[in-house]
Symmetry: C2
Subunit: 333 residues, 2 copies
């Protein structure tokens, strides 16, 4: 298996991206092509004197798409940007997957314009794994498309269900529709129509409406929403978790000796818990609905996250998610 990694995308690129890729080739049975500025990438690889023993190579590019640029325009104009070249490597069959921690918009645009949507899918979607006490809930779309019609949302349910089954090993995954109440009559016009379409779709285990609280409590394996709601929820959750942590640290700092000793004694337990809830353990979220494996990593990814995301790419390709989605779509009608 061969994975194209956009070495120039991300807050800590290229350093953390290159180091994470180096970790991954040692951990997973895969080859990696690092796409980006050759000199910069080489300098980082040279930190490990043995890097040439591993299946990792460089594809030099001269352009980079910045965060502020219009995604589709940038992808069309910057033919020698790292994300465009990396995506082309999947398109022409040289690689099995592309991974980027750069501009999400650019990665999605590159995938849509170069790999193209799967026939029968109206909107690709980012499927983000959310850690829960029961394992993981897949939230999609978490930001690829902000305007989704009911028929698109139902397709997301199908793709999410297939991913949860084949990658996370969930049997007959429970699919929920994100809404403001459990009852069928709740919600705006978009979700009410989607509910009816879901009821008619026998291929998946549709379990009704999911409320906001059902995402972290893990009552569903897959929760479907449009990319606007999904993105807001995801960023809200990140912000809330960070805020709680910050306030606890401040409270301990301002607290007396016993608070500090208590925090010290609790640290190993909380670290273990933190690891369980750590989003970077999952590393990347697949863009489902395009003809190829495209994994999107968080902008703030460090080497560890990138390594995990390469693991996720591996799982995606190995479990033939794309084939299963195409197969399911062909047998829908």
């Amino acid at each position: 298996m061969k994975i194209a990694v956009d070495a120039m995308g991300g807050d800590y690129a290229p350093e953390q991206i290159v180091l994470g890729s180096l970790q991954a080739v040692k951990k997973y049975p895969c080859e990696i092509i690092l796409v980006g500025d050759e000199n910069q990438i080489k300098d980082i690889l040279e930190l490990d004197s043995e890097w040439k023993k591993f299946p990792i190579t460089i594809r030099h590019t001269t352009e980079t798409i910045e965060m502020g640029e219009h995604p589709a325009d940038a992808v069309r104009n910057k033919k020698d940007s790292s994300i465009v070249v990396a995506t082309e490597l999947v398109k022409n069959g040289e690689c099995d997957a592309v991974l980027s921690a750069g501009s999400t918009g650019a990665a999605v645009a590159a995938a849509q314009l170069i790999l193209r949507r799967i026939h029968g899918i109206g909107r690709p979607a980012i499927a983000t794994p959310i850690p829960t006490p029961k394992g993981v809930t897949l939230l999609l779309d978490s930001g690829a498309n902000v305007d989704c019609k009911p028929e698109h949302l139902v397709q997301l349910g199908l793709m999410g269900s297939i991913y949860a089954e084949h990658v996370f090993g969930k049997e007959n995954p429970k699919v929920g529709l994100l809404n403001i109440g459990e009852e069928e009559t709740k919600g705006n016009e978009q979700v009410k129509s989607t509910y009816q379409l879901f009821k008619e779709m026998k291929k998946i285990n549709f379990c009704g409406n999911a409320e906001g609280r059902d995402i972290p409590n893990g009552h569903f394996d897959v929760v479907v929403c449009d990319g606007f709601v999904g993105n807001v929820v995801l960023k809200f959750g990140e912000g809330l978790a960070r805020m709680i942590l910050k306030l606890i640290k401040e409270a301990v700092y301002d607290g007396g000796v016993s608070a500090k000793v208590g925090a010290l004694l609790l640290t190993p337990t909380l670290k273990k818990l933190g690891k369980r809830l750590d989003v970077s353990e999952y590393g990347g979220a697949p863009l489902l609905g395009v003809n190829g494996c495209c994994i999107i990593s968080h902008g703030s990814s460090d080497a560890k996250s990138i390594c995990s995301a390469i693991g996720a790419s591996n799982d995606y390709v190995k479990s033939n998610v794309l084939g299963h989605i195409k197969n399911a779509l062909e047998n829908l009608n």
Copy 2:
């Protein structure tokens, strides 16, 4: 000041509602009319042998609106339900505010049908105070209306700004529009149009797009979104906070002696922090945009929350939020 309290609404009604009202008449300079089943209410009041010394009376009603009922239909048909009668007390001037922890839909429907919308306001909105490290951020609409047009969302910004200024004492409150990115060009059609309308509105301090993470970090005093997104975000936050707490408790339970001792030593510090972040300290969220003060409490409200919510009703009426909103609307054009 006189407040009508729906004694029959809420998961712990009537007991916690009545006990909370009793706490409130002792704490705030207000009179309370408890609306609901007289016998049940009296039995609870009698737990305090001195209750008759306080300005608290009962208005007997025979009907209750259940959670599953269609809100508007129930309000129209159950003329002698506690929420309808309590709202009527505000309409006919007998009370200054109505408070309910029952079905949010029914409380909103009663307010819309009986008190009516303020002239010039297209959609009333629930404005929920979210605790942040900097104090509190007002999130509206957090669930009154799921289909909002851009002109409605801009009105929410105006009302939220007035509430934050006059009730929370914020000077020139920072108003943000909930979106998936900071840039003006981000988002779906609804928020893009809303952004343009906000830019033209000189009456408020519009500070651009707020991302999900900006709600808990307190960068804005007021964050505007439609009731669908607001409700999902609010319930997601509740669920996430509860999940984190539960997992920490489990981790401590499963941890060794040092984890348990650590937790014990940390407890007072965390309790103090918990109090700071406790939503029940705010108790209720005002429904802004109707002709009268209507405060909506969480279904799971206990006596303490109800007491705080009565405090919020007091603040709302005393600071003449309604007058300020009407005044601002008249001077818009």
